[in-house]
């Protein structure tokens, strides 16, 4: 069986990452921004796994996969806190538009 070359994975990962970045910069809804951040994290995960597949040593393969699991755990925790903050802000101000959240400035 012909293996899929690593460049395919990397191109897909780069595309996902760029999409995530663009979303973070242009979207105003924090929930969508969160989703975009998840996209970036998963792009990184994909790159991890692609490189791990390249490794010959068993330990080195496992390292890449363990990192992926670690990132997923961090992302889950982040979303939990982030959503909590968003709910708190919505209760306070009836909106979650990030462009209206500009109190912390000069």
């Amino acid at each position: 069986m012909e293996a899929i070359p690593i460049s395919w994975f990397l191109v897909l990962s780069a595309f996902m990452f760029a999409m995530g970045v663009t979303g973070v910069v242009i979207r105003r809804n924090p929930i969508v921004i969160f989703m975009c951040i998840e996209l970036m994290l998963n792009a990184a995960n994909l790159a991890f796994l692609a490189f791990a597949r390249q490794q010959v040593q068993l330990g080195a393969q496992a390292a890449g996969q363990v990192y992926t699991i670690l990132v997923m755990a961090v992302a889950a925790a982040e979303v939990a806190i982030g959503l909590g903050i968003i709910v708190a802000i919505y209760r306070l101000r009836d909106t979650i538009n990030v462009d209206e959240m500009n109190l912390l400035k000069f």
């Binding site: 973070v24 910069v25 990030v98 462009d99 500009n102 109190l103 000069f106």
Partner: protein, 671 residues
């Protein structure tokens, strides 16, 4: 290596022990013990110094410079200063004067200060003064001398302001301290310059400044400018400490201190420190003829300037203060014409008769319940016989009546001035003429002092009817002679004032000068040589002696005619010339109010308004302001929009990435 001469540290240690004793337990042990200990330590130091002098004189003249090292003091690279004493004729002579006259004055103080509640404090300061004065005269290097120099200045300050509850006294103390700072500025610069030029500060020993200076002079490596600068800066120090024009103004005010202090510090010892220092460093002066001329001219000018001021003073102690300034001028005149030994001779005899006169005036002041104005004295000869007769000796001695002490020393200086080859010859004769006139004035104002104090009708009775009521001494009426603790020092000093001159010689009768021979190892001319003092024919020597005697007799005669009946009518009020003289030609006013307060105030104001407010504060505030401006400009970046920040991070990341790529690419190309 220990030798007999290491005992010199006991000489310094005794008064130091006395100082510590008074300072820590003086209040508990009572006045009797404090007075006894204070006097005993100084007299003990005197006995030991006398023993050391006898030991020193057993050595041949060229070995009479012994160094006793206590410890290493400062060692930083080439800069090495040891805490060590130089034992030679000059230092032991001064040690004897300081402890001898000092011991007598301590004894006198036990009587004079008997009623003072701060008795232990007085003896604490006095013993500390002796310690520092001994450090000054015994040191083997300029830096240790400077320690003693500052130390005696401190004690002078403390003792002038001894009765600190009176603001006049503390003001006088401040004035003395501040004016001395100007002199010390010169001294410090001289020390630095001397080290920079010679690489050492020692007076004697393996490596010493004077040897080095003479070697450099022979090899033509010594710049005349530098040696003149060193000598003149040292002399600036001397004008401060020894109250010469233009810095003499602190000494008359220093009379605010107790009279024994005036006698010890401001007449006999501390104020002669400048002369001692100049004599100690005489090689520098010999190498700098211009500095010698300055010393001689300043000396003789101060002598006549102060003598004229003394003519019109009304305070008995101020007359003696100006007289001291004037006599110090004589000593510097001696140094300036190259007769350093004669200058030191006058230091010695002056210590005797001026201490005597001050202590005598103290006896008068105490008898009259702290009255110092001579216009309210008179007729005291009958009531204070011992004081009168001893002061009579002092009066004749300072006036220069042969064969008393003052005649010999003054005559030696005047003869040396007349015949000197260290200055242009006609210059010496001009200086001699001024000096002779000063001698006449000296005899005149001293006769005036005696007349106003002891002769004529009493003028104190009227003043006392309403004054003596609450006096601490409790008894009024007739003034009483002082107790023996005060009269015994007076009598000893009177004897010394009479016979003290015989330690010198007398050229017209071909009596060799033993004092000069004794000081030869310390003060002998090393560069100019003996011929610089000139050699006068005997007939000229006699002529000079008769001129001196004539000046003294004439001065006394004028004084006798005018003051034998006491206060002349036209001196009750200060008018005309007398007022100008009384006010020191307004020089003090000019210096204090004009230069000090007005000009000094202007400069201080400028330093504040311009240097401090504009430059220093401007710099500090400017940096703070600039930082603030940068901050307030950059704060616009903090928009508060999350998406802005995210975009900035993105740009940063891209820039970083591009940079890494370019670097990687160029590294790849290089490979």
């Amino acid at each position: 290596m220990t030798s007999t001469f290491d005992l010199i540290w006991v000489v310094v240690g005794l008064p130091l022990a006395g100082f510590l004793f008074h300072a820590f337990v003086g209040k508990r042990v009572g006045k009797k013990v404090v007075g006894a200990v204070g006097t005993a330590v100084v007299l003990g130091a005197f006995a030991l110094s006398a023993y050391l002098l006898l030991e020193l004189l057993k050595l041949p003249a060229e070995e009479q410079q012994i160094i006793s090292k206590l410890w290493r003091w400062i060692e930083a690279g080439a800069f090495k200063v040891a805490f060590e004493a130089l034992i030679d004729p000059l230092s032991l002579l001064m040690a004897l004067i300081v402890t001898g006259v000092g011991g007598l004055i301590h004894l006198y103080s036990t009587g004079y200060m008997a009623d003072d509640e701060d008795y232990p404090r007085f003896f604490t300061y006095m013993n500390l003064f002796i310690v520092f004065m001994l450090t000054l005269v015994l040191s083997n290097n300029l830096l240790m001398m400077f320690v003693g120099w500052e130390g005696v200045g401190l004690c002078s300050y403390l003792l002038i302001g001894f009765w600190y509850k009176d603001k006049v006294n503390t003001d006088s103390a401040n004035k003395a301290f501040i004016v001395n700072r100007i002199g010390d500025w010169g001294f410090t610069l001289a020390v630095i310059l001397a080290f920079w030029t010679f690489g050492t500060l020692n007076f004697a020993g393996q490596e010493n400044m004077f040897q080095r200076a003479m070697e450099m002079h022979q090899q033509k490596m010594l710049s005349a400018g530098i040696i003149t600068a060193i000598a003149l800066l040292l002399f600036v120090g001397a004008t401060g400490k020894s109250a010469q024009f233009p810095l003499y103004i602190w000494l008359p005010d220093a009379m605010a201190g107790p009279t024994p202090v005036s006698a010890l510090i401001h007449a006999a010892t501390m104020v002669t420190a400048g002369v001692v220092m100049v004599t100690r460093c005489h090689v520098f002066f010999e190498l700098a003829p211009a500095a010698m001329l300055v010393v001689a001219v300043i000396g003789v000018f101060t002598a006549i300037f102060a003598a004229t001021i003394a003519l019109a003073q009304t305070d008995i102690k101020r007359v003696l203060a100006y007289s001291t300034v004037s006599q110090l001028g004589y000593m510097f005149l001696g140094c300036g014409v190259g007769a350093f030994a004669s200058g030191m001779f006058h230091v010695t005899t002056h210590a005797f008769f001026k201490a005597l006169l001050f202590l005598g005036s103290g006896s008068v002041i105490l008898a009259l319940h702290h009255e110092q104005d001579m216009r309210r004295m008179g007729g005291l000869a009958k009531y204070l016989p011992i004081t009168y007769w001893t002061m009579l000796a002092g009066w004749l001695a300072i006036s220069g009546i042969p064969p008393l002490a003052g005649f010999f020393s003054k005559d030696e200086i005047l003869a040396a001035t007349f015949g000197t080859h260290a200055l242009p010859v006609s210059m010496g004769q001009i200086l001699w003429a001024v000096g002779l006139l000063t001698a006449l004035l000296t005899a005149f104002y001293m006769t005036r002092l005696m007349g106003l104090t002891f002769w004529g009708e009493p003028r104190w009775a009227a003043a006392h009817a309403h004054h003596g009521k609450d006096d601490v001494h409790g008894h009024h009426g007739e003034p009483k002679e002082s107790p023996p603790s005060m009269t015994v020092p007076l009598m000893i000093l009177a004897v010394l004032s009479v016979v003290g001159g015989f330690i010198g010689g007398f050229a017209p009768l071909h009596i060799p000068n033993r004092f000069e021979a004794f000081l030869e190892p310390s003060a002998g001319l090393k560069v100019l040589g003996k011929q610089a003092l000139g050699h006068l024919p005997v007939s000229v020597e006699w002529m000079l002696v008769w001129a001196s005697v004539a000046a003294a007799v004439l001065g006394i005669w004028f004084g006798w005619v005018r003051y034998r009946r006491g206060l002349p009518e036209n001196e009750r009020e200060l008018t005309g010339v007398r007022k100008v003289l009384y006010n020191q030609y307004y020089y003090d006013w000019l210096m204090v109010k004009g230069v000090g307060l007005w000009l000094g105030g202007r400069i201080a104001n400028w330093m504040w308004q311009f240097v401090d407010v504009r430059l220093v504060d401007g710099l500090v505030n400017g940096i703070a302001g600039f930082t603030g401006w940068v901050g307030s400009s950059l704060r616009r970046v903090q928009t508060g929009y999350v998406r802005n920040y995210a975009f900035t991070i993105l740009i940063g990341a891209i820039v970083l990435l591009v940079w890494l790529l370019i670097r990687g690419a160029s590294a790849g190309l290089a490979r």
